[in-house]
Symmetry: C2
Subunit: 413 residues, 2 copies
């Protein structure tokens, strides 16, 4: 058996021992893991320096190196993240529904851990601690498959976390051995050992896992989010919402990528919006009608409509109706988050009911689709698929359920 | 584009129009569909007779022919099934959770249809109407891929249902064109058009879909269910539970396939159980210790422990502890349903917490794992996977959710 499958087998054994542990045991382990990260700071930084050096030598961009690099402050933040997860309610054991059946059987649907969770992710080593913490809290063994560029950092972080995790079964937290493509391929084949794979990263990583995995996958993160400014919109609020959505953090999945404006307010709204966006350095990619309001705009292409820019670019179009906006979003959107700016309650209701996205904002920025903003306390990712979890995934989304049925010798006969 | 993908594309268009429909519209369509089945009885029976004749000519077993054959009573039952689904609550629109966030945003997580549901199933043509009814009620367009042996019956049934479905978008209910393997293969590749595939049938059909589909799958049905008779069991109740689980309907997935007995009660329990089971015609496959109580028993093999017999066969073993029973179930079980017979509350609690199955019964027959018994009103299948749905799946399990967030010009800034 391959090293990856052996790790998965160990994880499955760990998961069985982990599932019945009490919240107190898991929280104590999370605190010990947090303390250990801080105590082992020098060791972690040294390993990270080797990763950064190797990255620089191989010509990695400074932006990528910045995501890879750890500092004492970033390690402290990782530790604080673990301590924060300890404060959250334990999802395991929650009774989701229950009833007494006509024959006297007592039915309860109870949250249980998923079992073994595989996370496939890219550069940032803080994901290693975040994901480990969420999995431990939700009673799951975790197989972490970070990027090759962070392998030294991740190896030390996982080693530190594992040694510190008192009271948890061995192999609760494991780094997937190996850094080449084949280790991901083996994870994707580990049906029966791995209960779910969660890819976190760029679109190509995600689609490769989604298309090739035999293990169930939760698809995360691609966000081509649209703001639609309706005929009845408060235009000042609309400007604030589009500027917030586009410019506060362009590189994240809940950033706004497309603006659609109802024709009846285009004349009034677009000059305001264009000015505010250009003041923030945004490049507009416009259709013919929107282009009339920005002499420096680039003509929009089908690639633009489909794009998750993750940059200070915005596709802009004018539509003649809410239906046209909905049809546009259904054709080009990624089903992450859409927003309507409107004062018309019927139009807002129609917008919500006509779309098929993980989140729909009414008079609010697309940037609010976030586990922290939603009050979940923590987030393992944002699902854009419809099965199991959709939208920001917190601790409950890392669980399954079991039906527990109690009788007194009941038979169906 | 292939015929199957064209059908899937039409289904996606239908799904968008179907999602916002009210319960009243959907229920009216369900009643019209039910009436049409009865009114078109002769047409359906004629098509079914052709299927049965072709099956008999090609040497299909009488048992299979019986599953395939329709009668006026069976058609009436299909119609009643649709009318019953109309009486159930509409899962679409249910608010699963919600809160007011600290910044005043109002958050609601609302059930929405999955979109396009593909069902791949075997012989029985009544599944065609059942699945169509559940999908219509939950606002999903459905692609039905029945077996080649029932193609004539299914064609007429789907045609009757479609014509009758007043108020629903065209192509809400479609039979997948073609009867060969390639039509299933195309469904499995229809990512972005089909939101979920649910295979219903034998183990080989299910595992083939699970392993090859790029569309998300809900795995249903394989049940290797175990009853564990604990040291403190009420032995009379234990006999009733094992006889019920094994003999009331051996061919279904919640039938009991394995009996494990604690060594301390084996001497007293097994003679009672063996007699009761043999009176019902059950063949026992026993380990060395259990074999001592049945001179006609067959020695148990690893294949027996793993088997979903679906027949009057039962694998029987003696264990020295609850832990040994749990380890056996974790090794050989299919994660469907297990039962403990015990008067010891601590042991029952430990059994529940140590297993990883869709349902665990305490002093009740494994046969109770069923949507109807659980009070769900209807069932599309029993999921043995952990993602999205686990155990009996009713209407809510045919939905996803959307977050609807209402603000007043909120920005993150």
């Amino acid at each position: 058996m391959s090293e990856v499958l052996e790790a998965a087998r160990r994880a499955k054994v760990a998961a069985a021992a982990l599932a019945p542990l009490t919240r107190a045991t898991k929280d104590a382990a999370l605190h010990a893991m947090a303390d250990a990260l801080v105590a082992s700071q020098d060791e972690i930084l040294a390993a990270n320096a080797r990763d950064v050096e190797a990255g620089r030598a191989s010509g990695t961009s400074e932006a990528m190196l910045d995501r890879l690099a750890l500092t004492p402050a970033r390690i402290a933040a990782m530790a604080d993240g673990l301590r924060h997860v300890a404060t959250l309610p334990d999802p395991v054991g929650e009774v989701v529904r229950g009833s007494s059946l006509p024959n006297g059987l007592e039915l309860r649907q109870v949250r249980v851990p998923l079992g073994v969770v595989g996370i496939v992710y890219e550069a940032r080593p803080n994901v290693t601690a975040d994901a480990a913490g969420l999995c431990v809290k939700s009673g799951n063994a975790v197989l972490l498959r970070g990027s090759a560029s962070a392998y030294e950092s991740n190896t030390v972080i996982v080693d530190v976390l594992s040694r510190a995790a008192v009271g948890l079964p061995p192999n609760t937290v494991q780094l997937v051995p190996g850094t080449d493509r084949s280790s991901v391929e083996e994870l994707m084949k580990a049906r029966g050992l791995v209960d779910v794979l969660i890819p976190r990263g760029g679109a190509s990583l995600i689609s490769s896992v989604v298309e090739n995995s035999m293990v169930p996958v939760i698809e995360t993160g691609v966000g081509n989010c649209t703001v639609y400014v309706d005929a009845s919109a408060d235009l000042e609020k609309a400007v604030a919402i589009i500027v917030d959505g586009k410019t506060t953090r362009p590189s994240v999945c809940n950033a706004t990528e497309t603006l659609l404006v109802h024709a009846s307010v285009a004349d009034e709204f677009l000059p305001l919006a264009v000015k505010a966006l250009k003041d923030k350095g945004v490049t507009l990619h416009t259709d013919a009608r929107a282009g009339a309001f920005d002499s420096s705009a680039v003509p929009v292409t089908e690639e633009d409509w489909a794009a998750e820019y993750l940059s200070l670019d915005l596709a802009v179009g004018v539509v003649d109706s809410l239906e046209e906006a909905v049809a546009h979003i259904r054709r080009w959107g990624s089903g992450h988050t859409e927003a309507i700016v409107s004062r018309d309650i019927d139009e807002a209701r129609r917008f919500v009911r006509s779309l098929d996205s993980a989140a729909v904002m009414i008079n609010a920025s697309t940037r609010f689709t976030d586990g922290g903003e939603f009050g979940f306390g923590a987030e393992i990712g944002i699902s854009t698929q419809k099965l199991h979890a959709r939208g920001p995934m917190g601790l409950p989304e890392l669980t399954s359920t079991t039906y527990v049925v109690t009788g007194d010798g009941h038979v169906r006969g």
